[in-house]
């Protein structure tokens, strides 16, 4: 039994945590939230220099050729720092889509630039509130509008889900966002430390990514993979919320003693700890399944995702509650985790969707 990260991976964690403490404090998150600039470009450059964007990209495409366990460690730490970076869009979605479905030319052309952080990628699917019909059409010229695409105003390329009259009814397209036929309308969101934009394609140049009519299967696969990494970010963020609540409760006095000595507060924090621990342990299993391409991945991903969504939501809201009125102010940092938990839950689809996927995976496993 070895259900733990290796010494090298733990060293990477220490290094990442130290780097983020120096370069991505809560002050940096606040700057991203309060400023007009859509993200912290300077931090992005530094993160790319550390090689994080290149983690799982093979060496032949100028990547580091490391495993998903290393990427899990980085995701955990970025989540913990509530980093204002397009990392999940570019690395867990766009890069993964290229790795899984890119042609040799597409890989050769884009992966080295994604690895170096020179370009940012993202992923666009939703067109309506909730899950609804995809009406964006075309393969080499696409037209349609995508709603609130994460990091779309700063991204250079986008993997776009388009409608197909073949196969499973959808295809993936690769679109260069730096063209006149793509218009970006920045939207203000729940978490402005991660910018979003509506994307409208007016017969924009595009190319197929993977096979036509296999888009829905590809989305399923990509979302299962991304769900594990999102879950790590969520769990990392939930731990920060717990830590913040704990520090405040220890220092805040009411009725002559620290509020951390009241069972109402202690039990709240104990439950945060329990949720976070369960989510983290499920993330371990997800990381193992992702890294080994195990047939259990759909179940492992959904399990990690469901518990991480719940843990981050609970920790985010109860951290504010523990802070009392101050937690509700702009001045305090509690809002960062409250915002981010909702953002990460929404991207990839929320709790209900992943609960359903979990049970479907259980049934599939029982039938096998």
């Amino acid at each position: 039994m070895n259900f733990e990260f290796s010494e090298e991976q733990n060293l990477l964690r220490e290094q990442a945590r130290g780097f983020l403490a120096d370069n991505c404090s809560m002050k940096v998150v606040r700057q991203a939230l309060e400023s007009d600039s859509p993200f912290d470009a300077d931090l992005w450059r530094k993160v790319a220099e550390m090689g994080w964007t290149a983690t799982v990209i093979p060496e032949e495409f100028d990547g580091l050729g490391l495993s998903y366990l290393e990427l899990s460690v980085i995701a955990d730490e970025l989540g913990r720092a509530v980093a204002p970076l397009p990392f999940s869009s570019s690395v867990y979605l766009a890069t993964e889509a290229l790795l899984a479905y890119g042609s040799p030319e597409q890989k050769q052309n884009l992966l080295p630039r994604l690895a170096s952080g020179e370009i940012i990628g993202t992923f666009a699917m939703a067109e309506v509130k909730g899950e609804g019909a995809i009406n964006t059409t075309g393969t080499d010229k696409i037209s349609g509008t995508k709603l609130a695409v994460p990091d779309a105003d700063i991204a250079n390329i986008c993997v776009v889900v388009v409608k197909s009259d073949q196969g499973d009814g959808a295809s993936l397209c690769l679109v260069d966002l730096d063209q006149a036929e793509v218009s970006k309308e920045v939207v203000y969101t729940l978490d402005p430390s991660r910018s979003h934009a509506n994307l409208t394609f007016n017969s924009a140049s595009a190319e197929l990514l993977g096979k036509e009519g296999e888009g829905n299967a590809a989305v399923e696969n990509l979302f299962n993979r991304a769900a594990v990494l999102f879950a790590w970010e969520q769990t990392g963020g939930a731990d920060t919320a717990l830590e913040m609540a704990k520090e405040y409760a220890l220092g805040r006095y009411a009725f002559g003693r620290p509020i951390a000595s009241y069972q109402a507060i202690k039990h709240k924090l104990a439950h945060m700890y329990v949720n976070n621990t369960l989510a983290r342990s499920n993330c371990y299993y997800g990381a193992w399944a992702l890294n080994t391409n195990a047939p259990e991945l759909p179940l492992a991903a959904a399990t990690a995702r469901v518990s991480a969504i719940q843990a981050y939501y609970y920790a985010g809201k109860e951290n504010i509650q523990t802070h009392g009125g101050m937690g509700f102010t702009w001045e305090f940092d509690c809002q960062f985790m409250y915002r981010r938990s909702q953002l990460l839950a929404a991207t990839l689809g929320g709790e209900a969707k992943w609960q359903e996927k979990l049970v479907t995976a259980l049934e599939t496993q029982a039938a096998a």
Partner: protein
């Protein structure tokens, strides 16, 4: 990160599996024996061959095995059909570690081997009507008389008192000092004159616990563990092991059992397993169970590396017990009218959720209530301060109680 055994672990697993399969009592061997006789036969055979209490030192009946080897043995044991040895679990899980830490060498050699072999059974005499979560508020008195102590009072919630030979016992030897300082720890022969045992009928109709009354029971001073007044410290050794042994083993696979049950039932003309509300609950409970299982794997990894498992282990009971209760309640409601049919003492699958529903209220209380477990996590894991205590620093005899002063 992988789930396979190391080479040594694999070798140990193979050995354990081979021995267990070859030596588990056959149906013929246990024919006509009651549960206790079956348990004793199996336990003795295991200990003689070095396959019981394996973590104990050899001279006390064990084989000095590692924690991970214990986990592997448990795993293999669960795959082999054999008599239950649960009668010995309190003695081996709680009394033994306490003896190991606090008894004299001579006592260890006298008591531990018989505890290991199942020849002598031990129970735990801690809780009292006035001392549950606040265990140190216990009031059973011990008064020194020559070389003996004379015990008077009452214990409660004692599992297996009626078949036990020995009991570990915490009593008050000095009521005029603050409560934790006036306690002393003994072990007592359960066959002593003046020990009276009355079973407690639970709301589930079963009787797993007893009240134990002490009337002028004499205990020789050499059966004291730790110094006079040091009983609380000794009791903590026992309690840490209790929580570890009661921990997160409950309810594994319950979410899948619920899904299986739901597939056989209907809601609005559809299988209940296709109902979205049902699926949502199954998903949540499965995620919790999986989280506990993988938390256990992380602990096992720590053990396999020779480390002491971290405090994350302490969440098991706090998560598993309330969850199993909610799940059982939900499963009964799914059965609609049939969900009320209950046969006490029947533990078959058809009665499983009823059985759980009626028994889990005890599980949420025994060995530390949900609330105490949450306090333990808050204080020992997160480092939060204790609630101020109004009984701190004052003599126990001055502490207010439900019935006035102590």
């Amino acid at each position: 990160m992988d789930f396979s055994d190391s080479a040594e672990e694999a070798k140990f697993r193979a050995e354990a599996a081979e021995w267990l399969q070859a030596n588990a009592p056959t149906d013929d061997e246990i024919k006509g024996l009651d549960e206790m006789a079956q348990a004793k036969l199996w336990q003795k055979r295991k200990v003689d061959a070095g396959w019981a209490c394996i973590r104990w030192p050899k001279e006390y009946g064990g084989r000095g095995a590692t924690a991970i080897e214990q986990v592997i043995l448990n795993d293999e044991q669960s795959k082999v059909k054999s008599p239950s040895t649960q009668f010995f679990s309190i003695g081996q899980g709680m009394a033994a570690p306490t003896l190991m830490t606090w008894a004299t060498e001579e006592q260890k050699r006298r008591y531990l081997p018989k505890l290991a072999s199942g020849e002598e059974i031990w129970c735990q005499l801690f809780s009292e009507p006035a001392g549950g979560s606040d265990l140190a508020a216990l009031r059973t008195r011990a008064v020194k008389d020559g070389d003996d102590w004379v015990i008077n009072g009452q214990k409660i919630w004692t599992s297996g008192a009626h078949y036990s030979d020995w009991g570990i016992l915490v009593v008050r030897t000095d009521p005029d000092v603050p409560k934790h300082q006036g306690l002393t720890y003994f072990f007592v022969n359960m066959h002593s004159p003046g020990v009276e045992i009355k079973p407690i009928k639970q709301l589930s109709s079963a009787s797993n616990f007893n009240e134990v009354y002490f009337t002028d029971v004499r205990i020789p001073d050499e059966q004291r563990l730790g110094a006079v007044g040091q009983g609380w410290q000794v009791a903590l050794t026992t309690l840490m092991n209790e929580r570890a042994s009661i921990g997160g083993t409950r309810s594994a696979g319950q979410a899948q059992s619920l899904l299986k049950l739901a597939a056989t039932l209907e809601i609005d003309g559809e299988p209940a397993s296709k109902n979205k509300a049902v699926r949502s609950r199954v998903a949540d409970w499965y995620a919790k169970e999986a989280g506990l299982r993988f938390t256990g794997y992380r602990s096992m990894t720590a053990m396999s590396r020779g480390e002491v498992p971290g405090p994350e282990n302490s969440i098991g009971k706090l998560v598993a017990a309330p969850m199993a209760q909610d799940l059982a309640s939900f499963a009964l409601e799914l059965q609609a009218q049939a969900g009320v049919i209950y046969t006490p003492l029947d533990e078959s699958f058809d009665n499983m959720f009823q059985h759980n529903y009626m028994n889990i209220p005890g599980g949420r209380i025994a060995g530390g209530t949900d609330e105490i477990m949450a306090n333990i996590i808050a204080e020992r894991v997160l480092g939060l301060p204790q609630e101020p205590r109004v009984d701190k620093g004052i003599p126990f005899s001055d502490v207010p109680t439900s019935g006035g002063k102590s």
